[in-house]
């Protein structure tokens, strides 16, 4: 989206700052759910496996395993219904899209923590 006028229009519904996290991180996505009059926040926990788009159309894909069944949700980052995205655990990834995790089961779906990775190196 290069046009300045288009950006001006989109900027009105865009968030000023986005939470910081990396591909491979495990995050808690706080999403606002409206049930009739009531509003409550639901948390979706999982691994960020892709981040795509730019500007107002930027989205992330979060993957988790529920009852041995892989579940992926796509969240638009600028949606007012996404209240917060909190990184819970950092994971080391060498790729921008972690689609290979879809073919893995059990322990192999876990990514090495960035920090523990470093401490392992100093031990020896």
């Amino acid at each position: 989206m290069k046009n300045q006028l288009l950006e001006k229009v989109a900027a009105k519904s865009q968030k000023q700052t986005l939470p910081k996290f990396k591909i491979g991180d495990t995050v808690d996505v706080h999403c606002l759910i409206k049930e009739g009059e009531k509003e409550r926040v639901q948390i979706f926990n999982g691994t960020v496996i892709s981040r795509r788009g730019s500007g107002i159309s930027e989205t992330i894909t979060v993957r988790r395993i529920v009852n041995e069944q892989g579940v992926e949700r796509i969240f638009p980052l600028h949606s007012p219904n996404i209240v917060d995205i909190k990184p819970v655990r950092s994971g080391r990834s060498r790729k921008a899209k972690l689609y290979y995790l879809r073919d893995r089961v059990g322990r192999s779906t876990r990514l090495k923590d960035e920090h523990t990775d470093q401490s392992d190196g100093t031990k020896e």
Partner: protein, 215 residues
């Protein structure tokens, strides 16, 4: 209310319910009134307006002279706004801006669709074509037969008028109606319209206030 403008492009906004809404941004006006037509002078009521200046060196003398009467530069895009029974409220040289769209719920947009060139029947009229295999040879996208005895009764062996065939597609005037008007930006002369409108980015469009009162 009518205004001339230019399609800037499409983007997204979030509505009050937090749902994504696809929108087209149109830079509309300010348009200069070039001529006011009334029942007395021309037999009907209308306002002729122009959008975007043209360099004087690029314009024919009559167009330049016509604009001069309104004290304006010659315009690139000139159209008439028919008023039917209503009396025009403006005079030549007045500016019409997006401020007039304040409070309008829906708009109709007239644009010129993207040209597709000489297109076959599959693209132009959504014909089915022929199978890829099972003995089909050299006529996978062919239109099929034009006419037959049964369908051609009383036409003397000619093809019926209006038979859908290949030909030029696109670059035609397309009107899309009842677009929800999302917002009006008077500062930048922008109209934010829900949905897609005909034509390429940068194409000229006419935006009219819609007839339906319900947004």
């Amino acid at each position: 209310m009518m205004l001339l403008g230019k399609k800037i492009g499409m983007t997204q906004v979030y509505d009050e319910n937090g749902r994504i809404c696809p929108v087209t941004v149109v830079q509309a006006g300010p348009c200069t009134v070039l001529q006011v037509k009334t029942t007395q002078s021309d037999g009907y009521n209308a306002v002729q307006m122009g959008f975007e200046d043209v360099k004087p060196s690029r314009v024919k003398k009559p167009a330049e002279g016509h604009a001069k009467k309104a004290g304006a530069m010659a315009k690139r895009f000139v159209r008439e706004w028919r008023l039917n029974d209503k009396q025009p409220q403006c005079k030549p040289g007045d500016a019409i801006t997006v401020a007039g769209f304040e409070g309008v719920k829906t708009v109709d947009v007239v644009g010129t669709s993207k040209g597709k060139g000489f297109a076959g029947t599959m693209k132009r009229h959504a014909f089915g074509g022929f199978p890829a295999s099972h003995g089909t040879e050299r006529k996978h996208r062919a239109p099929g037969s034009q006419s037959g005895h049964g369908t051609d009764r009383g036409h003397g062996g000619n093809i019926k008028k209006g038979k859908r065939m290949s030909g030029h597609m696109g670059h035609s005037t397309v009107t899309t109606k009842n677009h929800k008007l999302i917002s009006v930006d008077a500062e930048n002369n922008l109209l934010v319209i829900k949905g897609a409108i005909a034509g390429p980015n940068g194409g000229y469009v006419i935006v009219k206030a819609g007839k339906s009162a319900v947004g």
